[in-house]
Amino acid sequence: MIEFRSVTKTYPDGTDAVADFSLVVPAHTTTVLVGSSGSGKTTLLRMINRMVEPTSGTIEIDGESIADRDPVRLRRSIGYVLQNGGLLPHHRVVDNVATVLRLEGTPKNEARQQALEVLDVVGLDRRLADRYPSQLSGGQQQRVGVARALAADPNILLMDEPFGAVDPIVRSELQTETLRLQQQLHKTIVFVTHDIDEAFLLGDQVVILSTGAQVAQIGSPSEIIENPADDFVASFIGAERGARALHTKETGHGTVLVDGTGRTQGRLVEGGQGAA
């Protein structure tokens, strides 16, 4: 469990990136921080592994304040996936994945062996292990980034807009893959995105942020769609338009659902087995 308590981040020029932010991130679930640029979502994420130090307030992991922990050791215990991979261009894929293991003193061959196994976990062909990052596609690089984050088997995984720079088809593939991984691994994931669809797809808990990391609404995707807290949330999630503004239409074969652009999205089934 990760807990933010009245966390504030003020930059030297006086801007409040984060003002009095509190949040509980439950263990073994995915919490998505979503907001437009300037909402402080990345700042919040980077505070968890002390890449950014809060100006005031505390952050606790399993009841222990991270301010007391050595930043380097803390970072090695937390997986971090960056938007552009952030891979080391001069190291082979397998060595990139083995980075944290090597930093922690695992012998080279053992670390590589483990890295190869992690490549299997994220669905990367072992034949890519000896390539350099620049020889991979964007989607493959992101998988390597995820593999590197998972290699030392951390409890917590931080993902900073990891799929922001890949094309929509690959992005949707990676999203599906993330869901599959999470079902298998049950990590505590904090995921940052500006894409509300991605947030609703991946998040058990979704936190919608407005400027200065003000929480506009926290809830499950269903709760937020069913009951947007205010107009900001409603407009942010696009409740009134497009794919989420559905209306019913009677046809000869029963009732169907039509979205805001006039496309039929599905059939209304009585007594559906929805979890909501």
Binding site: N49, V72, V100, L103, Y132
Partner: protein, 228 residues
């Protein structure tokens, strides 16, 4: 063209091979001055440049120093230092002058190499738990190596040319033939010595050009290979 022929003839003449200062000895001294000066300069400027590039501290000072040093007249510096050190310390004075001339390009190569590393790569390295020292040693230095070698390259070329001036203050190096040639009006000798210096400079430049390519990390080079 006749002068060129005479100059070439001088280079291979018995006079140049076994006169008061044999050509081979002059070349050896010339190169020794060059390498020792560049090595000393590198020992000072490389660590300093890495620290400046890694921390970003002292960057303005480093930029100002590299820029200002271009305006320093090398001949003036050599003579000034000989006067300051005294004529009994000509070797030390000349070497100090060459070291001072070599420092700015090496410093610039070292810090710009580190600085030019993609910030996202550095950020990633920190985020997975590398200590600042590991970030410098495993990421910034290897990726910044080509620019550092570039700095060493221009320093070496500058010094190999400037060592010629040492011929004015002492009777060593290839500059000796030029100074002596002017006095005895032996133009073949002047041009011959100048040609040897040019060849040395070109060979050193070539060597560094090869080295510069060799130190590009494989993963970085791979990108160029696949995209071309």
């Amino acid at each position: 063209m006749e002068l060129f022929a005479e100059a070439l003839a001088w280079i291979f003449s018995s006079d140049a091979q076994s006169g008061s200062l044999p050509l081979s000895e002059a070349i050896a001294t010339h190169l020794a001055f060059t390498f020792v000066s560049v090595l000393i300069a590198a020992a000072i400027a490389v660590p300093a440049g890495w620290v400046v590039g890694h921390t970003g501290r002292g960057r303005e000072a480093a930029v100002a120093l590299s820029g200002a040093a271009r305006a320093v007249p090398s001949f003036g510096l050599v003579l000034l230092l000989v006067l300051v050190f005294g004529v009994t310390h000509k070797v030390g004075a000349s070497t100090t002058a060459f070291v001072l001339l070599a420092i700015p390009p090496i410093l610039a190569g070292a810090y710009s190499g580190v600085e030019a590393v993609d910030r996202r790569v550095v950020d990633g390295a920190r985020a997975v738990g590398m200590t600042p020292r590991q970030v410098l040693g495993r990421v910034e230095i290897p990726l910044g190596l080509p620019l550092l070698i570039g700095g060493l390259r221009s320093a070496t070329l500058q010094v190999v040319a400037t060592v010629t001036l040492a011929g004015y203050v002492g009777s060593w190096g290839l500059g000796f033939y030029i100074v002596q040639g002017i006095q005895i009006r032996d133009f073949a000798q002047i041009l011959g010595a100048a040609l040897v210096i040019v060849v040395l400079a070109v060979l050193l430049d070539l060597l560094f050009a090869l080295l510069e390519r060799a130190v590009v990390p494989r993963g970085v080079r791979a990108r160029h290979e696949t995209s071309s």
